[in-house]
Symmetry: C2
Subunit: 397 residues, 2 copies
């Protein structure tokens, strides 16, 4: 597949930028759009922070070099958004990571994927059904994506070892959770891959799991929820899939079985009932046939590197549905901006009725940059929701 390839130095700059304090995928994109490249953004960031009355800790070149080298030693590498191995389906989501750390076979990332997620405390029947579904999906040509957790995730990976499976980790690639699944991870690398957006050495924290779930759904044309209680991480994955415009499937179960509550609820909300692999295959097949190459415009199909092509990449990636934060003139705040204050302010201004980002910025009296830097955190913290057309609302507790 065609695409740009970053130079080693560019890759290190991208890594420094995304590993710097307060920089997530959305802010990374804003900064790239504004400054034309990662190196320029790194140069500008300390001044930007100072102007906002803050300091920001930049990741150093030495730290970035150490991460790349450590990853190389365990057989992994970093793939940048827009590069040939970067999965185009993932690239289409709003919060696609600029860099993915990958172990195993990166080529599986470009095959059609279906996510299988569910309860850690799976029933024997749920695990059995998951195995059958994963095997059938694998035989139908799909790569099975899951989160390497106990229960359903484990059954999904195990049944698709031969056909290719992707484990998306919540922490660094060397911080496998749960540790009992380290042997499973090693086995799946033969025909599949493990990926993470997190630095090596980072043990996953509670909040990293829902954040990771957006990548499980984002890699996949559809997400199947197999057994899930009413409040569970699998439902978060399903919600991400829905917001990303992907198909959501749920496996039904007896209303007397608490592990079926989540799936039955999803079906009532519009998820496709999945009782066998063909229900997934027939719904996803037309999506594979679609030419998704629009995600990487022809002008970028070249080998050129350098800041210009990176700038072009980011400009071109601002496609409908992939909304970049608005670029305002460099703001000169009238008072010290405390990030906790901005969070509270945004939460106070948002209600359950969706409003436009512009209106939010105007109502806040803060800069568009301050507001947009706050939104991803709130979104991943499950406190706000994005709607089509760039509208935002608060999620009631």
């Amino acid at each position: 597949m065609a695409g740009i390839v970053l130079s080693d130095r560019q890759r290190l700059d991208w890594l420094r930028l995304i590993r710097s304090e307060s920089v997530g995928p959305r802010t990374f994109r804003s900064l790239m759009n504004r400054f034309g490249g990662a190196a320029a953004a790194l140069d500008a960031l300390p001044d930007l922070a100072r102007q906002a009355g803050r300091t920001v800790r930049l990741s150093t070149l030495a730290e970035a070099e150490r991460e790349v080298e450590a990853l190389r030693r365990i057989g992994g590498r970093l793939i940048a958004m827009g590069e040939p191995d970067y999965p185009r389906v993932l690239q289409a989501i709003d919060t696609a990571p600029p860099l993915l750390a990958v172990l195993g076979r990166p080529e599986v990332l470009s095959r059609p994927c279906a996510a299988l997620v569910g309860s850690r405390n799976a029933s024997a029947a749920g695990a059995k059904f998951t195995g059958r579904l994963a095997r059938d999906l694998g035989e139908a040509g799909f790569v099975v994506v899951s989160g390497l957790a106990r229960g359903i995730d484990t059954a999904a990976h195990e049944a698709s070892l031969a056909t290719g499976t992707i484990a998306v980790l919540a922490g660094g690639l060397d911080e496998v959770y749960p540790p009992q699944n380290i042997p499973l991870l090693q086995r799946l690398l033969a025909e599949g891959a493990a990926i993470s957006e997190m630095p090596l050495g980072l043990a996953p924290r509670g909040r990293d799991f829902p954040r990771r779930n957006r990548l499980v759904s984002g890699l996949s044309l559809g997400t199947v929820v197999v057994e899930a209680a009413r409040k569970s991480g699998s439902l978060i994955t399903a919600r991400f899939a829905n917001e990303q415009g992907r198909l959501v499937f749920a496996v039904p179960g007896s209303p007397l079985d608490p592990r079926a509550e989540g799936g039955n609820h999803l079906i009532r909300e519009g998820a496709i009932l999945c009782a066998e692999a063909s229900h997934v295959v027939e719904a996803l097949a037309p999506l594979i046939e679609e030419d998704r190459s629009y995600l990487l415009p022809p002008s970028l199909v070249r080998d050129g590197a350098g800041e210009d092509s990176a700038q072009a990449l980011w400009d071109e990636l601002d496609l409908p549905g992939i909304e970049a934060a608005p670029v305002a003139p460099v703001p000169v705040p009238e008072r010290v901006t405390d990030s906790i204050d901005v969070r509270s302010l945004v939460l106070q201004l948002l209600g359950t009725t969706p409003i436009a980002l512009d209106d939010l910025v105007r109502a806040s009296g803060r800069s568009a940059r301050d507001i947009s830097m706050t939104l991803l955190d709130l979104e991943l913290g499950n406190l706000i929701r994005r709607h089509p057309g760039g509208l935002l609302s608060r999620i009631e507790a």
Copy 2:
């Protein structure tokens, strides 16, 4: 509730007409529309048959008197369409029986009903869930309708004895199937009712069960399928409910459980997933509030009897969606009409693409009466399907 009341003699004539050979609910309606009343139709029927080269055995007055008397002796009575106790929701279906034999409390027929149907070989969990659902529906004010079969039907009736339940029998009211459920039937009469369109003494034949199922769904604002294999009578009931414009609910189950196949399939086809009674109640509640009195036009809200009011009743009942067979000039067939020939001809002319009745009659070269008399049989034999707008198609085997 207002309505007309038949005289004793009219009731006997209606009974003779519906019990005569080849006269089903649809033909009954055609004959009433054509001749203005049951007595006139009985007078005309032998000639009509002779003109068609056939004979028709009419039910005699003595037979009708015996049936009414036998019904009276077991505590039952006949309720005619349009009478105050005839359920208006049932009256709205295409093949509503002109007369219903009723035991128990006829007033439950006019309360909002929900049907609960499912497998005779129910699982313990299925029976338990059915009991809970029936009890909750009863407490929410619904009368539970079912077919008195073993398994799910039995659980549904038992759990709604106190709040009111209706058993719809496939044979005569004195031919309870299965006989083990005679005690259950007797208990449910205290607060509920048993009904049948069939004559006393008729032991139900195989084909009477699917025919009966249209009354289970037809009495009810919605039908809930609890446990059903892929091919089962419950799915026929669901299909009738759908064709009657009623809501269909299905209880999901594990894809590993064959008893869940029918329900899961229905949900994929658009049935509402029911995991608790509130899912039924919230969907049906708005339908109760609708003023359904249009089913019985104000001009008929009077006590008058006589052929004129019956004629008016039938004329007025030809409302949109309640299609009467077309009334053609008295046909003079050019050759002997064999009813088996007409069946074959109709089946040959119909394909899977729906066509209008008029076009079918024209293509057949037969009279509209011959064709329409054949259609109900084919429909109940599950060989043809009616579509909105009076279109017809064949069901592929």
